[in-house]
């Protein structure tokens, strides 16, 4: 079952990456579809990160004593100010392991 999951996931991921690179595949995505897809990266990534930050141990933890939340706020500020992915990631993770 694990192998079935691995191989079918690999197929889904590969097709999404490769499909529109094929010259024989005409692009038939409508403008609305493209607009909708343009929100997919922020929406999906946020939906993955939000529970890690706000619900770290299965319970809502909106508190400054929640290191996930405080470090995420620091990361947000760093990303906003520096716009540097590596700097933001390294500094906020350093702070997290320090706390």
């Amino acid at each position: 079952m694990i192998w079935l999951i691995i191989l079918s996931m690999a197929a889904v991921v590969f097709v999404s990456r490769h499909l529109l690179l094929e010259p024989k595949i005409p692009i038939r995505l409508s403008k609305n579809t493209l607009t909708f897809l343009s929100y997919s990266a922020p929406a999906v990534l946020t939906a993955i990160l939000a529970p890690i930050v706000f619900v770290p141990h299965g319970e809502l933890a909106i508190s400054l004593y929640n290191p996930y939340l405080t470090c995420a706020l620091v990361a947000t500020l760093l990303a906003y100010i520096t716009r540097n992915t590596l700097l933001t990631t390294v500094l906020s993770m350093g702070l997290f392991f320090f706390l």
Partner: protein
Amino acid sequence: MSTTKSITIPINKSQSFFAGALAVMPLTIAVIPWGILAGSFALEIGLTAVESQAMSAIIFAGSAQLVALGMIKAGIGIGSILITTLLITSRHLLYAIAMRSQISPLPLKWRLGLGFLLTDELFAIANQAHGNDTPAQHHFDRWYALGGGLTFYVGWNIATLLGIVAGQSIDNLGELGLDFAIAATFIAIVVPTVKKPSILVCVLVSLTLAVVCAVFAIQAGLLIAAISGMAAGMAYAKLTNEGGNKIASEHKDDTL
């Protein structure tokens, strides 16, 4: 970028290859904690070492792998896992559209190879200027892209292997807070993309719903939150007439 005719084989292939490898190095370092997490988490939920490594070697998609592992752990079926994977990976359709003019004229083996290696990271470096190019005269260099893509692939797999080895010898690796690496990386990617009010709406709706679903332990939380966020962002853009025809260009500065 602007001219498709300028696809030329560079004078020195290996120089281009190593330039690409060098360009992707910072992003490769940033992904190490994730790779360790992907390897150790896979072992923890009961995959064998070979299966754990195969996820990174064959699927090669960090966020999709980690989310799928969480779903396997929760006993969720393959259908839901694949739908979620499709949603998470759908942003690659946009990357492919953006790079289509450069990659689609290449021979099949290049299309397949670069297609397999087309991650957020490769997309980020392939659209940066390198060498003596200024961004305006930047042209696509297949060896540069291959060097970057392969380096990142090897880095991701070594990090996964580290996680598998560490997971076998260290208990409670998950409690070290490696999952914060995911949050930190995604924050670093998402924040700079919030360039329009509609994207902020999208992020806030997705965030709120994801948290609510997590609190109530709703399994399809990721799907509900992400699709609602996308719909809310699009609706806001339509209602306020924000103008949404800059799709591909918006994504050029995604960094991961």
